[in-house]
């Protein structure tokens, strides 16, 4: 590991150690934050008891579906916009401002259209996450070096071959960051929806524990969500690294 990596490890360990010490000695009241080890313990206990399995399954499947839809749909729409510059110029201001729109205002409408349950949450999360993927696809396609495309012309590649061998690999770094954002935004969409407008799922359980001052459960659940999101991001990151190494970067 590099020098920076070691320092990072020490800094993180010191941070969590300090929080742990302050919680254990009572400098930080357990009503605010419980000790990190207690959070891990609570998470393991929650997972072991199995009482939240239906909620976990529901949230994860919602996030998974929303992620799949937003990544494939966002990629497809990004390609369409890339090939149609006039359309792109038209929707550009909308895309740029998209993430400051109050999506949750449209939830009642979604309930009327899709009924109660997981479906409106999935739609909400998909709409929320898709634009990140669209923008990542666009910036990836925009930044393909011209020399690569000229090379493809010289080799007389067919369009599918050009896309597969040149354009996709060249755009890959941006596509990956789009993928990571799509995961995060799917989580935000589903969990925020569950916070306010649902009666099941991890988000609802976190809000329920918060309302009942059940800090152990709340922090355990929060840690669980963060662990799942981070694990997925690390997976993408590791794959990204491997791709970069294969290309000798």
């Amino acid at each position: 590991m590099s020098k920076a990596g070691w320092i990072r490890l020490v800094v993180l360990a010191a941070f969590f150690g300090a929080v742990e010490a302050m919680c254990r000695t009572g400098v930080i009241s357990p009503k605010l934050v419980i000790a990190p080890t207690a959070m891990v313990e609570a998470m393991v206990k929650l997972l072991g008891s199995g009482e939240l399995n239906p909620d976990i399954r529901q949230t994860l499947s919602s996030v998974g579906i929303a992620m799949g839809l937003s990544v494939t749909g966002g990629f497809a729409l990004g390609c369409v916009l890339y090939w149609l510059p006039p359309l792109r110029r038209t929707v550009d201001p909308f895309l740029a401002a998209y993430y400051s729109l109050p999506h949750f205002a449209f939830y009642p409408l979604l309930i009327v259209i899709f009924g109660l349950g997981a479906l409106p949450l999935i739609v909400l999360a998909t709409l929320f996450a898709m634009v990140a993927m669209i923008m990542a696809t666009l910036s990836g396609l925009d930044r393909i070096p011209r020399v690569l495309i000229k090379t493809a012309r010289m080799q007389r590649l067919s369009l599918p071959a050009e896309i597969w061998h040149i354009r996709l690999p060249a755009a890959a770094p941006h596509l990956f960051s789009g993928l990571k954002l799509a995961v995060t935004y799917s989580f935000i969409g589903v969990i925020a929806g569950e916070f306010i407008l649902s009666t099941s799922g991890l988000g609802h359980q976190i809000a329920y524990a918060y309302d009942n001052f059940d800090n152990r459960t709340m922090y355990g659940l929060i840690l669980l969500v963060l662990c799942i999101a981070t694990a997925f991001n690390l997976l993408v990151f590791a794959y990204e690294r491997r791709l970069a190494r294969q290309r000798g970067q």
Binding site: D92, L101, P102, L109, I113, A192, I196
Partner: protein
């Protein structure tokens, strides 16, 4: 002619959205989605009312404070991390990791730490906005062309002159992109913060309206926030593009 050309896209988009809205209204009915015209009338009427102003100013104030913290803090930390190589290398993966966490899960923690009210909203908004500003500023400082610095040293510029004539012009376009993204995310964070456990502000009005299924009010507020977001974003985007064009020339 150029004014017509630049305005054509946004106008077309607005028109398309209005038509889509009307069509959805015809299909879903008044209980799900009121028609565009009555909604806009309702919005106009609402803005005129005295009891609406405190909510608007509450949200505006929370957003402004969060924005100041995110921008000033972000640029400050970013300059520090960009200027000192090792610190930047240690911090970058941590920041990227934080950036891709679904921060919504941390909202109960923020509520516990800051209590109900203004400071929690400000903290949540700033938390969303600050990280992209830090990341962009850091990269801007790191990517300053070494030749410029050497040229400055050759001309024996004082540190102040160096900052004013070289560092600021060289880093400004990139930093501004960070500020623009930070703006959107701060607005998102502040709005999310207001949706849960808040007693004043537009988010609170929105939640009350959702609970009462007062569709007209829901849509009015959504339109108001969206208008603000889109207009502010277009202005920032225009400045951003101009800065980047200036830097490239």
């Amino acid at each position: 002619m150029t004014a017509v050309r630049t305005l054509r896209g946004p106008l077309l988009l607005t028109l398309t959205l209005l038509v889509a809205w009307q069509v959805l209204h015809q299909w879903a009915g008044d209980t799900a989605l009121t028609a565009p015209l009555p909604t806009l009338e309702h919005l106009w009427e609402m803005i005129g009312q005295k009891r609406f102003l405190p909510h608007l100013s509450e949200t505006g104030l929370a957003f402004l404070q969060a924005l100041v913290i995110a921008w000033a803090g972000g640029v400050g930390i970013g300059l520090l991390l960009g200027g000192h190589r090792l610190t930047g290398e240690v911090a970058e993966p941590i920041l990227v990791g934080l950036y891709s966490l679904p921060k919504i899960t941390l909202y109960p923690v923020i509520l516990l730490l800051f209590g109900l009210g203004m400071s929690a909203k400000v903290a949540f908004g700033a938390l969303h906005g600050i990280i992209p500003v830090v990341l962009f500023t850091m990269n801007a400082v790191r990517n300053v062309n070494r030749t410029y610095l050497r040229a400055g040293r050759a001309m024996r510029l004082t540190p102040a002159q160096m900052g004013w004539h070289i560092l600021i012009p060289a880093t400004l376009p990139e930093i501004f992109t960070g500020l623009r993204i930070g703006f959107s995310l701060t607005l998102l964070g502040t709005m999310l913060g207001e949706l849960f456990a808040s007693q004043r502000g537009l988010g609170f009005l929105l939640m009350t309206a959702i609970e009462l299924n007062d569709v007209q009010t829901i849509l009015s507020i959504a339109v108001l926030i969206s208008l603000f977001a889109v207009i502010a974003n277009s202005i920032l985007l225009a400045i951003d593009k101009r800065l980047h064009r200036g830097a490239a020339a």
